[in-house]
């Protein structure tokens, strides 16, 4: 990934120690990372400068991760969301994927695996954006 245009990631988790440690490690790998301690602040943050990939906890006291996912996919459909959960729960994970999550990963996840997933999600977003650009260019009257 070119350093002048790093992937921007929003990391959402209510467990502060985990969130900040992971944010530091991702930033050291060249990602541009911002954090949010819960679902509500995450949605507020998304209204600001654009974010490529959201890494989203599932169980949070203020707003459930699945509802946050639904709202993100509604308002920012191109933003990719990776669910990162401490709860091994099959129905929740499938619901997450059905509602448009890029992937559903279980904690603990090795950093390189998460990093690769973030890059894949970013790539999917980039391709989707180009496709839309191509559609616009070919649309009549454009």
């Amino acid at each position: 990934m070119p350093d002048e245009n790093p992937i921007s990631v929003l990391l959402v988790d209510d467990e502060e120690a985990f969130r900040e440690a992971l944010a530091r490690r991702l930033a050291r790998k060249g990602l541009s990372v911002v954090t949010a301690p819960g679902g509500v602040p995450a949605l507020e943050r998304l209204s600001g400068p654009p974010v490529d990939v959201v890494v989203l906890d599932v169980k949070m006291p203020d707003l459930d991760g699945l509802s946050v996912l639904a709202q993100i996919k509604q308002a920012w459909p191109l933003t990719e969301v990776i669910m990162l959960s401490g709860h091994a729960d099959l129905p929740t994970s499938i619901t997450g994927l059905e509602n448009g999550a890029f992937d559903y990963m279980l904690k603990p996840t090795p950093l390189d695996e998460l990093l690769d997933k973030i890059r894949d999600a970013w790539e999917k977003k980039a391709v989707a954006e180009k496709k839309i650009a191509a559609l616009r260019a070919s649309a009549p009257g454009a």
Binding site: G86, D89, L90, S93, I94, T95, E98, G100, L106, K131
Partner: protein
């Protein structure tokens, strides 16, 4: 959750392929991303299935959190495959997602958390309990109720804080969820992580605010206990876990007991005792036994404190030798805790089981201390001086009374029993606990000492008490504190100054246990017998002579410790077959695997290869993989825009292979209908080509003069075409390529082969999969050929799966270069499969060609073979 399938369909259908070329090109890229994601999910699914199968086969211990995490990850992978296939071919496989949903539901049902048992009383008085309420009160308290209410035996007044109370505590402040989360993230086989996790979980329980309903229930229950006892009393709080003390799992000493608790500390002490559910030794024990933590709960018994004059343990048979039917008692002055914890060997009595029982053996120890209730709270140890130290702490009449009670309980329950008892200040026998007695595992019980080996060295130590029979050898490892436990090497001899139940965590890893103190009646001794680990206790201060790291042999049955390894006595190791074999968690994994692994969709060309017929998640993965490859190629063929069209491979002449570039598989843009080798940038394709062409086959049959190109051409010629029947096989020879990826589907002679390889910078995602089947030969020759190829691949590190004349071989998680080397091996074999048929016709030549092929492959690996021009 209803309606999500429709939602998904809408989602994936949003993007219909656009008509113009720029849009088509982006669509092609997006499809490739989907395909890649599907392949990665396929890889992950196969890996998870292999891991789960390996766990079921033994060799590792695992708990519910392992099972849930793997099943969830697998569900995510398989669903990802199905939804990406739907993305590649919208609406084309309408049966797929519904069928997957059905299979997933079956898996969910199997793994669903156990239903909470009936009963929502937070507290139950002992007066209303018997065995039938063990689900609410735990076996220990239910048994005590049974003794009181059905047998009329004397037990202390009291009540039990039930499983419903435990569940309420966990549900309040979402404690339960947090506990699962923490357990999932930890590797419990790692002692350091186990200790950290245990301390965190116990803190959570102790610090949780007590739900008001529970607090009130406790107050009311204590008030009526005080009334029954005739005034304010101290109490003892004892764990009474649900699932504890069943014959299958004894849970000896895994949990806490608090003695002489003042009423103002009742609530906080309850939480302390409940928290011992997460004691390291308890968590380890559950893991070793494969118990389902989601089916277990912690009830706590609250009994009026018996300030005993003497107390101890009674076994209704000899715990070391179930064939010895005499009753065994161990007794100490003061509270029975000294004996139960294994701190003191105590006085020992052996009684006959006739009526009345007769005292057969009486061993009176010189007792050093006793445990008594303190005036304030808790208990303390008092030094014994003077006459009492040397006096028996039971009269013969009392020993007979205890033995009778033990035999009565054995008769009632129909199995040998382990009974804790005390004599109170009024001289009355009070029973405190009763549970099935688990005799020693027979595996290590072989009386090795009975064979007087001629060359046995002089023992370092002798005597002591056999706490668990058998023998074992290893380096001495002393453990006095947690830090020592973390460095305990598997297979070592665990040396202790006192046998605290805390070290049960290590018992499963030790080859033998030795302790300066303690006897056969302690909890640690019980655990050793259950695990089949030899243990020799009460060796006295001389034990300190054992040096850390020195190799010794412990003969627990023969009561001796020898220097070095003594042949014939060193067999006891860490191998504990059968410990988990029929455990609840393993049974559950077995049922789960039935909807995960069996493969029924075997033949992609069969009309029965359809999603509705899928029986397992494996079937779904096989289906999705097969169809995704087809869809990817079909799209490249159908949309004939010049940059992305499939091109025919030209190698001296046009070959019967078509090449479809998915992304960056070509070194540069190629115009026209042909693609040449020098246009190819795909590393796996170049590797497979190198393998195919590096070493020409030397016969039989001898290479004809027409050269390699014609051999290559012939190799892929479709035998069906020669009969004039054009079948769909005609278009099945192709390479789909990207920079680091290749999927090759091809006929070689009569065989159908598929090779798929990813050799990129992400080592974790790399793989090579090779499948090979069919062939025109009788079944014996086909089988011989598959075995022949399989042996060669296995010798080169491939994992194999063979069924009839099908062979599937995989290499996973390897570095880029290793994958490419493996691809070369496959390339070589592909080219020579035709000739292999002829080799197989003559069994005598098999050995010769095996050797030749091994040599060729060695040359290929060393890069010595020059590719044919």
């Amino acid at each position: 959750m209803a309606g999500w399938w429709q939602k998904l369909r809408r989602l994936v259908r949003e993007d219909e392929p656009p008509a113009d070329e720029a849009g088509l090109s982006e669509e092609f890229k997006a499809r490739y991303l989907s395909f890649r994601k599907l392949l990665a999910a396929n890889n992950k699914a196969l890996e998870l299935m292999a891991e789960m199968e390996a766990a079921a086969g033994g060799g590792r211990v695992f708990g519910m959190s392992f099972l849930r995490a793997r099943a969830t990850a697998l569900g995510v992978s398989v669903f990802t495959m199905a939804s990406q296939l739907e993305r590649l071919a919208p609406g084309k496989y309408p049966g797929l997602l519904p069928r997957l949903k059905q299979i997933q539901n079956r898996l969910e049902d199997i793994l669903a958390p156990a239903e909470a048992p009936d009963g929502d009383d937070l507290v139950l008085p002992l007066a209303g309990l018997d065995q039938r309420r063990a689900d609410e009160a735990g076996a220990k308290m239910a048994n005590l109720g049974e003794m009181r209410n059905r047998l009329g035996l004397r037990v202390p007044p009291g009540f039990v804080i039930t499983a419903a109370a435990w569940r309420l505590l966990l549900e309040s402040s979402r404690l339960g969820e947090e506990i699962w989360r923490l357990q999932q993230a930890a590797d419990m086989e790692n002692a350091a992580e186990l200790f950290t996790l245990s301390s965190r979980l116990r803190q959570l329980i102790v610090q949780a605010p007590l739900p008001p309903a529970l607090e009130e229930a406790l107050e009311r229950a204590y008030a009526s206990l005080a009334q029954e006892a005739g005034g304010p009393v101290r109490v003892s709080l004892r764990s009474s876990a649900i699932g504890e003390d069943s014959a299958e799992a004894s849970f000896a000493g895994q949990y806490a007991t608090q003695l002489n608790v003042a009423p103002e500390f009742l609530a906080s002490t309850y939480q302390e005792v409940a928290a011992s559910f997460f004691n390291p030794q308890a968590m380890h024990y559950r893991l070793m036994r494969g118990l389902r933590d989601d089916q277990l709960a912690m009830a706590v018994g609250c009994l009026a404190m018996v300030g005993g004059v003497s107390g101890g343990v009674a076994y209704s048979v000899n715990p070391l030798d179930p064939a010895d039917r005499s009753v065994h008692l161990t007794a100490a002055w003061g509270l029975p805790r000294m004996v139960v914890d294994g701190e003191a060997a105590g006085d020992r009595f052996v009684l006959s089981r006739e009526e009345p029982p007769g005292v057969l053996v009486r061993v009176v120890e010189d007792k050093q201390s006793e445990l008594v209730c303190r005036a304030e709270e808790g208990v303390c140890r008092l030094e014994l001086t003077g006459e009492r130290a040397g006096q028996p702490c039971l009269s013969d009449e009392q020993a007979v009374e205890v033995a009778r009670a033990a035999l009565e309980l054995e008769a009632h329950y129909g199995a040998p029993q382990d009974v804790e008892w005390a004599y109170d200040q009024q001289g009355r026998l009070v029973l405190l606990q009763c549970r099935p007695l688990r005799p020693a595992e027979s595996g290590h019980a072989a009386p090795a000492s009975a064979t007087p080996g001629g060359s046995r060295p002089e023992p370092l130590l002798g005597g002591g008490v056999t706490a668990s029979p058998g023998s074992g050898a290893g380096p001495v490892h002393w453990v006095a504190k947690d830090a020592d436990a973390l460095t305990f090497p598997p297979g070592a001899v665990l040396a202790l100054s006192r046998p605290s139940p805390r070290w049960a965590v290590l018992a499963g890893k030790a080859s033998a246990l030795v302790s300066a103190r303690g006897g056969a009646a302690g909890h640690l001794a019980t655990v050793c017998r259950e695990y089949g680990v030899p243990a020799l206790f009460s060796l006295g201060p001389d034990l300190e002579r054992l040096e850390q790291g020195a190799e010794v042999t412990v003969d627990a049955s023969g009561r001796a410790v020898y220097p070095g390894r003594v042949e014939g006595l060193d067999s006891g190791g860490t191998d504990r077959p059968g410990l988990l074999a029929h455990s609840p968690v393993r049974r559950l994994l077995g049922s789960a695997l039935e909807v995960i692994v069996p493969l029924t969709l075997l033949d992609p060309d069969s009309t029965e290869f359809e999603p509705q017929r899928a029986q397992s998640l494996h079937d779904i993965t096989r289906f999705c993989h097969e169809k995704s490859v087809k869809e990817m190629f079909a799209f490249g063929k159908e949309h004939r825009f010049p940059r992305r069209a499939a091109k025919q491979l030209y190698y001296k002449v046009p070959m019967q292979w078509w090449v479809l570039d998915l992304e960056d598989g070509l070194a540069h843009e190629v115009s026209g209908k042909y693609v040449k080798l020098e246009d190819i940038a795909c590393t796996p394709m170049l590797a497979v080509w190198e393998g195919m062409t590096a070493i020409p086959w030397e016969g039989p049959p001898a290479m004809s003069g027409r050269g390699l190109a014609s051999v290559l051409f012939e190799a892929t010629a479709n035998p069906n075409l020669t009969t004039g029947v054009k079948t769909r096989y005609a278009n099945r020879n192709y390479f789909m390529i990207a920079r680091h990826f290749m999927n090759l589907q091809s006929r070689f002679g009569f065989h159908f082969c598929a090779v798929e390889a990813l050799a990129g910078p992400r080592r974790r995602e790399n793989y090579l999969s090779f499948s090979f089947k069919g062939g025109a030969a009788d079944s014996a020759r086909r089988l011989a050929r598959v075995r022949f190829v399989g042996e060669i691949l296995q010798a080169r590190g491939f994992a194999l799966e063979m069924s009839e004349d099908n062979l599937r071989a995989r290499v996973e998680r390897a570095a880029q270069e290793s994958i490419l080397d493996a691809v070369k091996v496959v390339g070589y074999l592909l080219m020579h499969t035709r000739q292999l048929d002829m080799v197989m016709a003559d069994p005598r030549s098999v050995a010769y060609y095996r050797e030749k092929i091994e040599k060729d492959l060695d040359r290929l690996a060393a890069g010595e073979a020059a590719p044919a021009a």
